[in-house]
Symmetry: C2
Subunit: 242 residues, 2 copies
Protein backbone atom coordinates (compact mmCIF):
# COMPACT_ATOMS: atom_id res chain seq x y z
CA UNK A 1 0.00 0.00 0.00
CA UNK A 2 1.91 3.02 -1.29
CA UNK A 3 -1.13 5.24 -0.97
CA UNK A 4 -3.90 5.30 1.60
CA UNK A 5 -6.88 5.60 -0.77
CA UNK A 6 -10.06 6.72 0.90
CA UNK A 7 -13.63 7.49 -0.13
CA UNK A 8 -14.56 11.18 -0.05
CA UNK A 9 -16.72 10.55 3.04
CA UNK A 10 -13.55 9.87 5.07
CA UNK A 11 -12.60 13.51 4.69
CA UNK A 12 -13.96 16.00 7.20
CA UNK A 13 -12.31 19.38 6.78
CA UNK A 14 -8.61 18.78 7.50
CA UNK A 15 -9.34 15.45 9.22
CA UNK A 16 -9.22 12.00 7.56
CA UNK A 17 -10.81 9.10 9.40
CA UNK A 18 -10.05 5.46 8.56
CA UNK A 19 -12.34 2.84 10.08
CA UNK A 20 -12.06 -0.25 7.88
CA UNK A 21 -10.31 -3.30 9.26
CA UNK A 22 -8.00 -4.02 6.33
CA UNK A 23 -6.48 -0.54 6.23
CA UNK A 24 -6.25 -0.30 10.03
CA UNK A 25 -4.41 -3.64 10.17
CA UNK A 26 -2.10 -2.55 7.36
CA UNK A 27 -1.27 0.77 9.02
CA UNK A 28 -0.50 -1.00 12.28
CA UNK A 29 1.26 -4.17 11.08
CA UNK A 30 2.94 -3.22 7.82
CA UNK A 31 3.50 0.54 8.00
CA UNK A 32 3.83 0.39 11.81
CA UNK A 33 2.73 3.98 11.76
CA UNK A 34 2.88 5.93 15.01
CA UNK A 35 1.28 9.30 15.78
CA UNK A 36 3.26 12.17 14.30
CA UNK A 37 4.34 10.17 11.21
CA UNK A 38 2.81 10.98 7.85
CA UNK A 39 2.05 9.03 4.72
CA UNK A 40 0.71 9.49 1.19
CA UNK A 41 -3.08 9.68 1.01
CA UNK A 42 -5.57 10.04 -1.80
CA UNK A 43 -9.28 10.67 -2.12
CA UNK A 44 -11.14 8.34 -4.46
CA UNK A 45 -11.46 10.00 -7.88
CA UNK A 46 -9.78 13.06 -6.39
CA UNK A 47 -6.45 14.51 -5.32
CA UNK A 48 -3.46 13.02 -3.49
CA UNK A 49 -1.35 14.48 -0.71
CA UNK A 50 0.12 13.77 2.72
CA UNK A 51 -1.53 13.26 6.08
CA UNK A 52 -0.09 12.94 9.58
CA UNK A 53 -1.37 10.32 11.98
CA UNK A 54 -2.96 11.86 15.09
CA UNK A 55 -4.12 8.66 16.78
CA UNK A 56 -4.51 4.97 15.98
CA UNK A 57 -6.84 2.61 17.84
CA UNK A 58 -8.16 -0.81 16.74
CA UNK A 59 -11.32 0.98 15.51
CA UNK A 60 -10.04 4.27 14.12
CA UNK A 61 -7.05 5.93 12.53
CA UNK A 62 -7.35 9.68 12.79
CA UNK A 63 -5.21 11.74 10.40
CA UNK A 64 -4.64 15.45 9.90
CA UNK A 65 -4.09 16.58 6.31
CA UNK A 66 -0.77 18.27 5.55
CA UNK A 67 -1.74 18.95 1.96
CA UNK A 68 -4.03 17.48 -0.71
CA UNK A 69 -3.03 19.13 -3.96
CA UNK A 70 -1.38 16.48 -6.18
CA UNK A 71 -3.20 15.23 -9.26
CA UNK A 72 -3.53 11.49 -9.91
CA UNK A 73 -1.19 10.18 -12.64
CA UNK A 74 -2.63 10.27 -16.17
CA UNK A 75 -4.69 7.22 -17.21
CA UNK A 76 -3.71 4.92 -20.05
CA UNK A 77 -5.90 5.97 -23.02
CA UNK A 78 -7.22 2.44 -23.54
CA UNK A 79 -10.30 0.31 -23.15
CA UNK A 80 -9.30 -3.31 -22.49
CA UNK A 81 -11.70 -6.04 -23.59
CA UNK A 82 -10.53 -9.17 -21.81
CA UNK A 83 -11.98 -12.64 -22.23
CA UNK A 84 -12.99 -13.58 -18.69
CA UNK A 85 -10.01 -15.44 -17.18
CA UNK A 86 -10.28 -18.05 -14.46
CA UNK A 87 -10.92 -16.49 -11.06
CA UNK A 88 -7.41 -16.26 -9.60
CA UNK A 89 -6.00 -14.97 -12.85
CA UNK A 90 -8.88 -12.49 -13.04
CA UNK A 91 -8.04 -11.11 -9.61
CA UNK A 92 -4.39 -10.54 -10.48
CA UNK A 93 -5.20 -9.16 -13.93
CA UNK A 94 -7.67 -6.66 -12.48
CA UNK A 95 -5.10 -5.51 -9.94
CA UNK A 96 -2.40 -5.21 -12.59
CA UNK A 97 -4.63 -3.28 -14.96
CA UNK A 98 -5.65 -0.90 -12.17
CA UNK A 99 -1.99 -0.42 -11.20
CA UNK A 100 -0.94 0.23 -14.79
CA UNK A 101 -3.60 2.90 -15.27
CA UNK A 102 -6.35 1.20 -17.28
CA UNK A 103 -9.70 2.90 -16.58
CA UNK A 104 -12.11 0.99 -18.82
CA UNK A 105 -12.32 -2.79 -18.74
CA UNK A 106 -14.87 -5.10 -20.34
CA UNK A 107 -14.85 -8.74 -19.28
CA UNK A 108 -16.15 -10.73 -22.23
CA UNK A 109 -17.51 -14.22 -22.72
CA UNK A 110 -15.96 -16.16 -25.59
CA UNK A 111 -16.19 -19.77 -26.72
CA UNK A 112 -13.14 -20.85 -24.75
CA UNK A 113 -14.19 -19.14 -21.50
CA UNK A 114 -15.54 -21.76 -19.11
CA UNK A 115 -19.15 -20.88 -18.33
CA UNK A 116 -18.59 -21.60 -14.62
CA UNK A 117 -16.22 -18.59 -14.43
CA UNK A 118 -19.28 -16.33 -14.63
CA UNK A 119 -20.47 -17.76 -11.31
CA UNK A 120 -17.19 -16.88 -9.55
CA UNK A 121 -17.45 -14.77 -6.37
CA UNK A 122 -14.60 -12.71 -7.87
CA UNK A 123 -17.21 -11.07 -10.12
CA UNK A 124 -19.10 -9.66 -7.15
CA UNK A 125 -18.95 -5.86 -7.65
CA UNK A 126 -17.48 -5.45 -4.16
CA UNK A 127 -14.73 -7.96 -4.94
CA UNK A 128 -13.97 -6.26 -8.26
CA UNK A 129 -13.84 -2.93 -6.47
CA UNK A 130 -11.48 -4.42 -3.88
CA UNK A 131 -9.01 -5.50 -6.58
CA UNK A 132 -9.22 -2.06 -8.18
CA UNK A 133 -8.45 -0.41 -4.83
CA UNK A 134 -5.44 -2.71 -4.29
CA UNK A 135 -4.10 -1.80 -7.72
CA UNK A 136 -4.60 1.94 -7.17
CA UNK A 137 -3.04 1.80 -3.70
CA UNK A 138 -0.04 -0.02 -5.16
CA UNK A 139 0.51 2.42 -8.03
CA UNK A 140 -0.53 5.64 -6.24
CA UNK A 141 -3.56 6.52 -8.28
CA UNK A 142 -7.04 7.64 -7.20
CA UNK A 143 -9.12 7.26 -10.36
CA UNK A 144 -11.36 4.22 -9.99
CA UNK A 145 -11.53 2.07 -13.15
CA UNK A 146 -14.89 0.99 -14.52
CA UNK A 147 -15.49 -2.68 -15.16
CA UNK A 148 -18.26 -3.84 -17.47
CA UNK A 149 -19.43 -7.43 -17.92
CA UNK A 150 -20.37 -8.72 -21.36
CA UNK A 151 -21.66 -12.21 -20.90
CA UNK A 152 -22.67 -12.74 -24.52
CA UNK A 153 -20.09 -12.38 -27.27
CA UNK A 154 -22.30 -11.66 -30.28
CA UNK A 155 -24.50 -8.93 -28.73
CA UNK A 156 -21.37 -7.26 -27.36
CA UNK A 157 -19.57 -7.27 -30.70
CA UNK A 158 -22.63 -6.23 -32.69
CA UNK A 159 -24.32 -3.75 -30.35
CA UNK A 160 -21.67 -2.34 -28.01
CA UNK A 161 -18.32 -2.62 -29.77
CA UNK A 162 -19.15 -0.22 -32.65
CA UNK A 163 -19.74 2.70 -30.28
CA UNK A 164 -16.66 1.78 -28.19
CA UNK A 165 -14.64 1.84 -31.41
CA UNK A 166 -15.73 5.38 -32.29
CA UNK A 167 -12.58 7.51 -32.21
CA UNK A 168 -10.46 4.57 -31.09
CA UNK A 169 -7.87 2.41 -32.83
CA UNK A 170 -8.73 -1.24 -32.20
CA UNK A 171 -6.23 -4.03 -31.68
CA UNK A 172 -6.75 -7.70 -30.95
CA UNK A 173 -3.79 -9.65 -29.58
CA UNK A 174 -3.69 -13.17 -30.98
CA UNK A 175 -0.78 -15.57 -31.47
CA UNK A 176 0.07 -16.14 -35.12
CA UNK A 177 -1.19 -12.79 -36.46
CA UNK A 178 1.06 -11.22 -39.11
CA UNK A 179 1.54 -7.77 -37.53
CA UNK A 180 3.71 -7.32 -34.49
CA UNK A 181 2.57 -5.21 -31.52
CA UNK A 182 3.06 -1.52 -32.51
CA UNK A 183 5.83 0.52 -30.82
CA UNK A 184 5.12 2.36 -27.55
CA UNK A 185 3.07 5.52 -27.93
CA UNK A 186 2.71 8.59 -25.71
CA UNK A 187 -0.15 8.80 -23.25
CA UNK A 188 -1.69 11.67 -25.23
CA UNK A 189 -1.88 9.57 -28.40
CA UNK A 190 -5.36 8.73 -29.77
CA UNK A 191 -7.15 6.17 -27.58
CA UNK A 192 -6.95 2.45 -28.14
CA UNK A 193 -9.24 -0.51 -27.68
CA UNK A 194 -7.36 -3.74 -27.03
CA UNK A 195 -8.99 -7.18 -27.06
CA UNK A 196 -7.20 -10.08 -25.36
CA UNK A 197 -8.47 -13.65 -25.73
CA UNK A 198 -8.79 -16.46 -23.20
CA UNK A 199 -6.35 -19.31 -22.56
CA UNK A 200 -6.48 -21.16 -25.88
CA UNK A 201 -7.27 -17.95 -27.76
CA UNK A 202 -10.24 -16.57 -29.64
CA UNK A 203 -11.81 -19.00 -32.10
CA UNK A 204 -11.76 -18.16 -35.81
CA UNK A 205 -15.34 -16.92 -35.81
CA UNK A 206 -14.54 -14.53 -32.97
CA UNK A 207 -11.39 -13.22 -34.67
CA UNK A 208 -13.44 -12.64 -37.85
CA UNK A 209 -16.12 -10.77 -35.90
CA UNK A 210 -13.57 -8.58 -34.09
CA UNK A 211 -11.77 -7.80 -37.33
CA UNK A 212 -15.07 -7.00 -39.03
CA UNK A 213 -15.64 -4.49 -36.22
CA UNK A 214 -12.37 -2.79 -37.20
CA UNK A 215 -9.85 -4.37 -34.82
CA UNK A 216 -6.42 -5.15 -36.22
CA UNK A 217 -4.78 -8.45 -35.29
CA UNK A 218 -1.36 -8.17 -33.62
CA UNK A 219 1.01 -10.73 -32.15
CA UNK A 220 3.43 -10.57 -29.24
CA UNK A 221 6.13 -12.82 -30.63
CA UNK A 222 6.25 -16.58 -30.92
CA UNK A 223 6.08 -17.19 -27.16
CA UNK A 224 2.62 -17.99 -25.83
CA UNK A 225 2.03 -16.10 -22.59
CA UNK A 226 -0.44 -16.69 -19.81
CA UNK A 227 -3.27 -14.19 -19.88
CA UNK A 228 -2.14 -12.28 -16.80
CA UNK A 229 1.39 -12.01 -18.20
CA UNK A 230 0.15 -11.02 -21.65
CA UNK A 231 -2.01 -8.23 -20.17
CA UNK A 232 0.99 -6.59 -18.47
CA UNK A 233 3.32 -7.25 -21.41
CA UNK A 234 0.90 -5.70 -23.91
CA UNK A 235 0.11 -2.62 -21.83
CA UNK A 236 3.74 -1.87 -21.15
CA UNK A 237 4.67 -2.39 -24.79
CA UNK A 238 1.90 -0.14 -26.06
CA UNK A 239 2.64 2.92 -23.92
CA UNK A 240 5.73 4.91 -23.02
CA UNK A 241 6.43 5.37 -19.31
CA UNK A 242 5.99 8.94 -18.19
Amino acid sequence: MNLLLLPAESLDGQRLRVTDTRRLAHLRDVHRLVPGQSLTVGVENGLMGRARLVSLTPELADFELEHLTQKAPPPLPIHVVLALPRPRMLARSLENMAALGVKHITLLHTRRVEKSYWQSPELDPLKIRHHMVLGLEQARDTTMPKVHLAQRFKPFVEDELPSLMTGREGLVAHPGEMQSCPPPRALDAPPLLLAIGPEGGFIEYEMDALKAAGLKGIHMGERILRVETAVVALLSRLFKPI
Copy 2:
Protein backbone atom coordinates in the same frame (compact mmCIF):
# COMPACT_ATOMS: atom_id res chain seq x y z
CA MET B 1 1.09 -26.62 -21.12
CA ASN B 2 1.58 -25.63 -24.76
CA LEU B 3 4.63 -27.86 -25.08
CA LEU B 4 5.39 -31.24 -23.57
CA LEU B 5 8.96 -30.56 -22.39
CA LEU B 6 10.95 -33.67 -21.62
CA PRO B 7 14.46 -34.51 -20.49
CA ALA B 8 16.67 -36.09 -23.15
CA GLU B 9 16.41 -39.45 -21.35
CA SER B 10 12.71 -39.64 -22.29
CA LEU B 11 13.71 -40.02 -25.92
CA ASP B 12 14.47 -43.51 -27.22
CA GLY B 13 14.89 -43.49 -30.98
CA GLN B 14 11.50 -42.37 -32.34
CA ARG B 15 9.75 -43.11 -29.04
CA LEU B 16 9.07 -40.61 -26.24
CA ARG B 17 8.07 -41.97 -22.84
CA VAL B 18 6.41 -39.83 -20.18
CA THR B 19 6.23 -41.29 -16.68
CA ASP B 20 5.87 -38.35 -14.30
CA THR B 21 2.58 -37.87 -12.53
CA ARG B 22 2.07 -34.16 -13.26
CA ARG B 23 2.43 -34.51 -17.00
CA LEU B 24 0.40 -37.74 -17.15
CA ALA B 25 -2.45 -36.08 -15.25
CA HIS B 26 -2.26 -33.02 -17.50
CA LEU B 27 -2.33 -35.10 -20.69
CA ARG B 28 -5.34 -37.03 -19.40
CA ASP B 29 -7.35 -34.30 -17.66
CA VAL B 30 -6.53 -31.10 -19.49
CA HIS B 31 -5.46 -32.15 -22.98
CA ARG B 32 -7.74 -35.23 -22.84
CA LEU B 33 -5.37 -36.73 -25.35
CA VAL B 34 -6.36 -40.04 -26.94
CA PRO B 35 -4.15 -42.41 -28.96
CA GLY B 36 -3.64 -41.16 -32.49
CA GLN B 37 -3.69 -37.47 -31.50
CA SER B 38 -0.47 -35.49 -31.56
CA LEU B 39 0.91 -32.52 -29.66
CA THR B 40 3.92 -30.23 -29.54
CA VAL B 41 6.92 -31.72 -27.77
CA GLY B 42 10.39 -30.48 -26.92
CA VAL B 43 13.59 -31.94 -25.56
CA GLU B 44 15.20 -30.01 -22.72
CA ASN B 45 17.91 -27.73 -24.16
CA GLY B 46 17.17 -29.24 -27.56
CA LEU B 47 14.73 -29.19 -30.47
CA MET B 48 10.94 -29.05 -30.63
CA GLY B 49 8.52 -30.99 -32.83
CA ARG B 50 5.36 -33.08 -32.82
CA ALA B 51 4.63 -36.49 -31.36
CA ARG B 52 1.62 -38.79 -31.66
CA LEU B 53 0.22 -40.58 -28.64
CA VAL B 54 0.45 -44.36 -28.98
CA SER B 55 -0.91 -45.32 -25.56
CA LEU B 56 -1.76 -43.68 -22.25
CA THR B 57 -1.98 -45.54 -18.94
CA PRO B 58 -1.85 -44.13 -15.39
CA GLU B 59 1.89 -44.93 -15.36
CA LEU B 60 3.03 -44.22 -18.89
CA ALA B 61 2.32 -42.09 -21.93
CA ASP B 62 3.99 -43.58 -24.97
CA PHE B 63 4.52 -41.27 -27.95
CA GLU B 64 5.89 -41.73 -31.44
CA LEU B 65 7.82 -38.77 -32.86
CA GLU B 66 6.45 -37.24 -36.06
CA HIS B 67 9.32 -34.77 -36.31
CA LEU B 68 11.79 -33.02 -34.03
CA THR B 69 13.41 -30.32 -36.11
CA GLN B 70 12.24 -26.94 -34.82
CA LYS B 71 14.64 -24.68 -32.95
CA ALA B 72 13.67 -23.13 -29.64
CA PRO B 73 12.80 -19.41 -29.86
CA PRO B 74 15.72 -17.03 -29.35
CA PRO B 75 16.53 -16.08 -25.74
CA LEU B 76 16.29 -12.54 -24.43
CA PRO B 77 19.90 -11.24 -24.32
CA ILE B 78 19.67 -10.28 -20.68
CA HIS B 79 20.87 -11.26 -17.22
CA VAL B 80 18.25 -10.31 -14.62
CA VAL B 81 19.46 -9.54 -11.10
CA LEU B 82 16.34 -9.63 -8.94
CA ALA B 83 16.18 -8.80 -5.24
CA LEU B 84 14.72 -11.97 -3.74
CA PRO B 85 10.93 -11.44 -3.62
CA ARG B 86 8.61 -13.07 -1.11
CA PRO B 87 8.00 -16.72 -1.95
CA ARG B 88 4.73 -16.58 -3.90
CA MET B 89 5.91 -13.60 -5.89
CA LEU B 90 9.20 -15.40 -6.53
CA ALA B 91 7.37 -18.40 -7.97
CA ARG B 92 5.35 -16.30 -10.39
CA SER B 93 8.32 -14.11 -11.32
CA LEU B 94 10.46 -17.15 -12.12
CA GLU B 95 7.71 -18.59 -14.29
CA ASN B 96 7.19 -15.28 -16.08
CA MET B 97 10.91 -14.78 -16.69
CA ALA B 98 11.20 -18.31 -18.07
CA ALA B 99 8.17 -17.75 -20.31
CA LEU B 100 9.53 -14.44 -21.60
CA GLY B 101 12.90 -15.97 -22.53
CA VAL B 102 15.26 -14.88 -19.74
CA LYS B 103 18.11 -17.41 -19.43
CA HIS B 104 20.25 -15.92 -16.66
CA ILE B 105 18.78 -14.94 -13.31
CA THR B 106 20.53 -13.93 -10.10
CA LEU B 107 18.44 -13.74 -6.95
CA LEU B 108 20.08 -11.15 -4.72
CA HIS B 109 19.90 -10.23 -1.07
CA THR B 110 19.41 -6.54 -0.36
CA ARG B 111 18.64 -4.57 2.78
CA ARG B 112 14.88 -4.63 2.23
CA VAL B 113 14.71 -8.38 1.48
CA GLU B 114 13.37 -10.19 4.55
CA LYS B 115 16.04 -12.64 5.68
CA SER B 116 13.40 -15.35 6.18
CA TYR B 117 12.80 -15.45 2.42
CA TRP B 118 16.13 -17.24 2.04
CA GLN B 119 14.69 -20.15 4.03
CA SER B 120 11.72 -20.54 1.70
CA PRO B 121 11.17 -24.01 0.18
CA GLU B 122 10.68 -22.17 -3.12
CA LEU B 123 14.48 -21.84 -3.30
CA ASP B 124 14.95 -25.61 -3.38
CA PRO B 125 16.68 -26.27 -6.73
CA LEU B 126 13.96 -28.76 -7.65
CA LYS B 127 11.27 -26.14 -6.98
CA ILE B 128 13.12 -23.53 -9.00
CA ARG B 129 13.50 -26.02 -11.80
CA HIS B 130 9.79 -26.78 -11.62
CA HIS B 131 8.88 -23.11 -12.12
CA MET B 132 11.31 -22.88 -15.03
CA VAL B 133 9.71 -25.92 -16.65
CA LEU B 134 6.22 -24.42 -16.23
CA GLY B 135 7.37 -21.18 -17.87
CA LEU B 136 9.03 -23.01 -20.78
CA GLU B 137 6.01 -25.28 -21.28
CA GLN B 138 3.77 -22.21 -21.36
CA ALA B 139 5.88 -20.27 -23.86
CA ARG B 140 7.07 -23.22 -25.99
CA ASP B 141 10.76 -23.04 -25.29
CA THR B 142 13.26 -25.75 -24.40
CA THR B 143 16.30 -23.81 -23.14
CA MET B 144 16.49 -24.15 -19.36
CA PRO B 145 17.34 -20.86 -17.59
CA LYS B 146 20.12 -20.78 -15.02
CA VAL B 147 19.32 -19.35 -11.59
CA HIS B 148 22.12 -18.18 -9.27
CA LEU B 149 21.70 -17.23 -5.63
CA ALA B 150 23.65 -14.27 -4.21
CA GLN B 151 22.89 -14.14 -0.54
CA ARG B 152 25.30 -11.31 0.25
CA PHE B 153 24.96 -7.98 -1.54
CA LYS B 154 28.45 -6.57 -1.18
CA PRO B 155 30.45 -9.64 -2.28
CA PHE B 156 28.11 -10.01 -5.25
CA VAL B 157 28.49 -6.41 -6.34
CA GLU B 158 32.24 -6.30 -5.76
CA ASP B 159 33.33 -9.76 -6.88
CA GLU B 160 30.74 -11.09 -9.33
CA LEU B 161 29.03 -8.09 -10.91
CA PRO B 162 32.15 -6.71 -12.69
CA SER B 163 32.59 -9.87 -14.75
CA LEU B 164 28.84 -10.09 -15.45
CA MET B 165 29.03 -6.50 -16.72
CA THR B 166 31.77 -7.30 -19.24
CA GLY B 167 30.27 -6.68 -22.67
CA ARG B 168 26.87 -5.86 -21.18
CA GLU B 169 24.94 -2.62 -20.77
CA GLY B 170 23.72 -2.41 -17.18
CA LEU B 171 20.39 -0.95 -16.05
CA VAL B 172 18.87 -0.66 -12.61
CA ALA B 173 15.13 -0.01 -12.41
CA HIS B 174 14.31 2.30 -9.53
CA PRO B 175 11.38 4.68 -9.00
CA GLY B 176 12.40 8.32 -9.15
CA GLU B 177 15.43 7.92 -11.43
CA MET B 178 15.77 10.65 -14.06
CA GLN B 179 16.07 8.47 -17.16
CA SER B 180 13.06 6.64 -18.52
CA CYS B 181 13.27 2.97 -19.60
CA PRO B 182 14.97 2.92 -23.04
CA PRO B 183 12.89 2.01 -26.13
CA PRO B 184 12.51 -1.64 -27.17
CA ARG B 185 15.56 -3.15 -28.83
CA ALA B 186 15.96 -6.12 -31.16
CA LEU B 187 16.93 -9.50 -29.74
CA ASP B 188 20.29 -9.33 -31.51
CA ALA B 189 21.20 -6.05 -29.76
CA PRO B 190 24.15 -6.10 -27.31
CA PRO B 191 23.27 -7.95 -24.10
CA LEU B 192 21.83 -6.25 -21.03
CA LEU B 193 22.06 -6.70 -17.30
CA LEU B 194 18.97 -5.48 -15.48
CA ALA B 195 18.75 -5.09 -11.70
CA ILE B 196 15.32 -4.91 -10.06
CA GLY B 197 14.93 -4.02 -6.40
CA PRO B 198 12.68 -5.48 -3.69
CA GLU B 199 9.33 -4.13 -2.47
CA GLY B 200 10.38 -0.79 -1.02
CA GLY B 201 13.30 -0.49 -3.44
CA PHE B 202 17.07 -0.55 -3.17
CA ILE B 203 18.49 1.64 -0.40
CA GLU B 204 20.72 4.56 -1.35
CA TYR B 205 23.93 2.70 -0.55
CA GLU B 206 22.85 -0.13 -2.85
CA MET B 207 21.95 2.25 -5.68
CA ASP B 208 25.34 3.92 -5.29
CA ALA B 209 27.13 0.56 -5.41
CA LEU B 210 25.21 -0.58 -8.50
CA LYS B 211 25.88 2.71 -10.26
CA ALA B 212 29.56 2.52 -9.33
CA ALA B 213 29.58 -0.88 -11.03
CA GLY B 214 28.35 0.80 -14.22
CA LEU B 215 24.59 0.31 -14.05
CA LYS B 216 22.42 3.19 -15.24
CA GLY B 217 19.33 4.08 -13.22
CA ILE B 218 16.04 4.01 -15.14
CA HIS B 219 12.44 4.53 -14.10
CA MET B 220 9.20 3.01 -15.33
CA GLY B 221 6.95 6.01 -14.88
CA GLU B 222 5.43 7.46 -11.75
CA ARG B 223 3.36 4.39 -10.94
CA ILE B 224 4.90 2.04 -8.41
CA LEU B 225 4.47 -1.55 -9.56
CA ARG B 226 4.63 -4.79 -7.64
CA VAL B 227 7.84 -6.69 -8.31
CA GLU B 228 6.19 -9.42 -10.36
CA THR B 229 4.39 -6.81 -12.50
CA ALA B 230 7.54 -4.70 -12.89
CA VAL B 231 9.55 -7.72 -14.07
CA VAL B 232 7.13 -8.40 -16.93
CA ALA B 233 6.63 -4.71 -17.74
CA LEU B 234 10.39 -4.07 -17.92
CA LEU B 235 11.19 -7.12 -20.04
CA SER B 236 8.44 -6.42 -22.51
CA ARG B 237 9.42 -2.74 -22.74
CA LEU B 238 13.09 -3.51 -23.29
CA PHE B 239 12.70 -5.96 -26.18
CA LYS B 240 10.78 -6.04 -29.44
CA PRO B 241 8.55 -9.05 -29.99
CA ILE B 242 9.78 -11.28 -32.79
